[in-house]
């Protein structure tokens, strides 16, 4: 192998790389929160909602899941201004990431809801719980516990998928890597370092996710 590796120029710029990692985590976590809210709302709408609401939720899920995230990103950033809605790179990235994640989370949680036996809901009604209490305690809590690992996997994909927002000039770890590559031309070294950073970030995130799952769902029914 003829290529000589020089990691020095890359590791010298570690503050910039750390800032990029911080931005990746920021984008990922904000879009995970919004995505989760959208997903829960969508799943409840698809299972319990009246027909028109179910149709809208299904259309949303099908459109988002069957088109690439990059196209959705371009649409929100480049095309919406022509109908009057101009979002900054950062906001557009968060909006696109949240809407994208929301569709997948909808389907995951819907599967969880459908795994809750119908008898549970009837028991809830028999106990005199209100509709909202039933949805929250009898349906959603067991549902989310059941699909918690699947949610975790989807969130990891979201963290890694945030790497494409550099296409609309939003800066995060991959954008920083690309900028450094253009300044130093040390592509191999840069992408090895950044891959390791993503790897470590995902490991830490998974561990935290599992830990919080154990705390949230302490009681097995």
């Amino acid at each position: 192998m003829d290529y000589v590796f020089h990691f020095g120029p890359i590791l010298d710029r570690w503050p910039l790389l750390l800032w990029g990692l911080y931005r990746t985590l920021e984008l990922s976590i904000i879009s995970m929160v919004f995505g989760l809210v959208i997903g829960i709302a969508g799943a409840v709408a698809k299972v319990f909602g009246p027909r028109p609401v179910r149709a809208v939720a299904s259309a949303y899920v099908e459109i988002i899941r069957n088109t690439p995230l990059l196209i959705q990103l371009f649409f929100i950033y480049f095309t919406l201004p022509f109908v009057g809605l101009r979002l900054s790179s950062n906001v557009a990235a968060i909006v696109a990431l949240s809407i994208h994640l929301g569709a997948y989370v909808t389907e995951i949680i819907r599967a969880g809801i459908e795994s809750v036996p119908a008898g549970q809901i009837e028991a809830g009604k028999a106990l005199g719980l209100s509709g909202r209490q039933i949805i929250r305690f009898v349906v959603l809590t067991p549902a989310i516990r059941a699909v918690y690992p699947a949610l975790g996997a989807q969130f990891i994909l979201q963290l890694l998928g945030s790497s494409i927002v550099s296409a609309i000039a939003a800066e995060e770890l991959t954008a920083v890597a690309n900028n450094l590559a253009m300044q130093t031309f040390r592509n191999f070294e840069i992408y090895i370092v950044v891959a390791v950073m993503y790897f470590v970030a995902v490991q830490v995130f998974s561990a935290l996710f599992r830990w919080s799952g154990r705390k949230l769902f302490r009681w097995k029914v």
């Binding site: 290529y3 095309t79 900028n179 590559a181 031309f185 090895i192």
Partner: protein
């Protein structure tokens, strides 16, 4: 389900990553003109997103200043040309991983790049400029304060405008992946001004308000060379000879008039 000790998992993954990198990097081979001719084709990296050097025509075929030079290389060698499209960040890697024999893609000659690749003498020259709609009054970097300026990541304009943004805080630099994206951002009003080549206003349509664009101020002049691997001196010498004859018989000047509406600037040699 039994679980493997985590230390082993991580070590195994790092080993796999290293193996992929080590074996994925085929050793850079020197390539000579004889090898190219006996191989039967010359493989050239181009960019199709930056008018007028590299673009696609109505039938989605590559065309432009760089593409014509590439075709002339093939003609001089007597072999067909195989084009490989690369993005700006992908030019040097495509050479170092043996994917292409040479790069003809608005490749500005800089000493930093020359650490990784070898450049021929310039075959074209270009100024990096700031472009904006006519209604904006911009004469220098101080007028960009408070505006959003789009650049293509890693180009000369990126470096220059980033340096100016550091001197005049308040300039917001947005880095896109290619020239097509910044024109799109300009048309949808996501940026107020952009860094581009001095041919930019020729190829931009009207702005979002229907105005024409104009060149505001010049950042720097660059010269483009053909890039080859450092260990291909024979090919480099042939390319220098080739470019020299193209300059002498006026072909390069004709191409410049055709694609840039301007004569070929004075090209220094080294």
């Amino acid at each position: 389900m039994t679980r493997m000790p985590p230390g082993r998992t991580i070590a195994g993954l790092l080993l796999a990553l290293f193996a992929m990198v080590a074996f994925g990097l085929a050793p850079a081979k020197a390539v000579t003109t004889d090898e190219i001719i006996s191989r039967g084709k010359v493989i050239i990296a181009i960019d199709t997103t930056t008018a007028p050097y590299g673009m696609v025509d109505q039938s989605m075929e590559p065309t432009g200043f760089d593409i014509e030079v590439a075709n002339l290389v093939g003609k001089a060698l007597g072999v067909p040309v195989e084009f490989v499209t690369v993005t700006s960040p992908g030019r040097i890697p495509s050479l170092l991983t043996n994917r292409v024999d040479m790069v003809i893609s608005i490749f500005s000659i800089t000493p930093e790049r020359a650490l990784q690749v070898a450049f021929s003498i310039p075959y074209a020259g270009q100024s990096s400029v700031v472009l904006a709609p006519k209604s904006l009054d911009i004469k220098g970097p101080e007028d960009l304060v408070g505006l959003k300026v789009g650049v293509t990541r890693g180009t000369g304009e990126d470096g220059l405008l980033t340096a100016q943004a550091e001197k005049f805080p308040g300039i917001e630099i947005l880095r896109f992946d290619d020239y097509a994206s910044i024109t799109q951002a300009m048309l949808s009003g996501q940026i107020d001004a952009m860094g581009g080549g001095d041919y930019g206003d020729m190829y931009l349509q009207k702005s979002v308000n229907g105005e024409d664009f104009e060149l505001k101020y010049i950042l720097k002049s660059f010269f483009f060379g053909i890039g080859v691997r450092k260990d291909s001196p024979e090919l480099l010498q042939w390319l220098n000879t080739f470019i020299y004859s193209l300059k002498n018989d006026g072909t390069l000047n004709e191409l410049s008039l055709k694609y840039r509406n301007a004569p070929l600037p004075e090209l220094p040699v080294f």
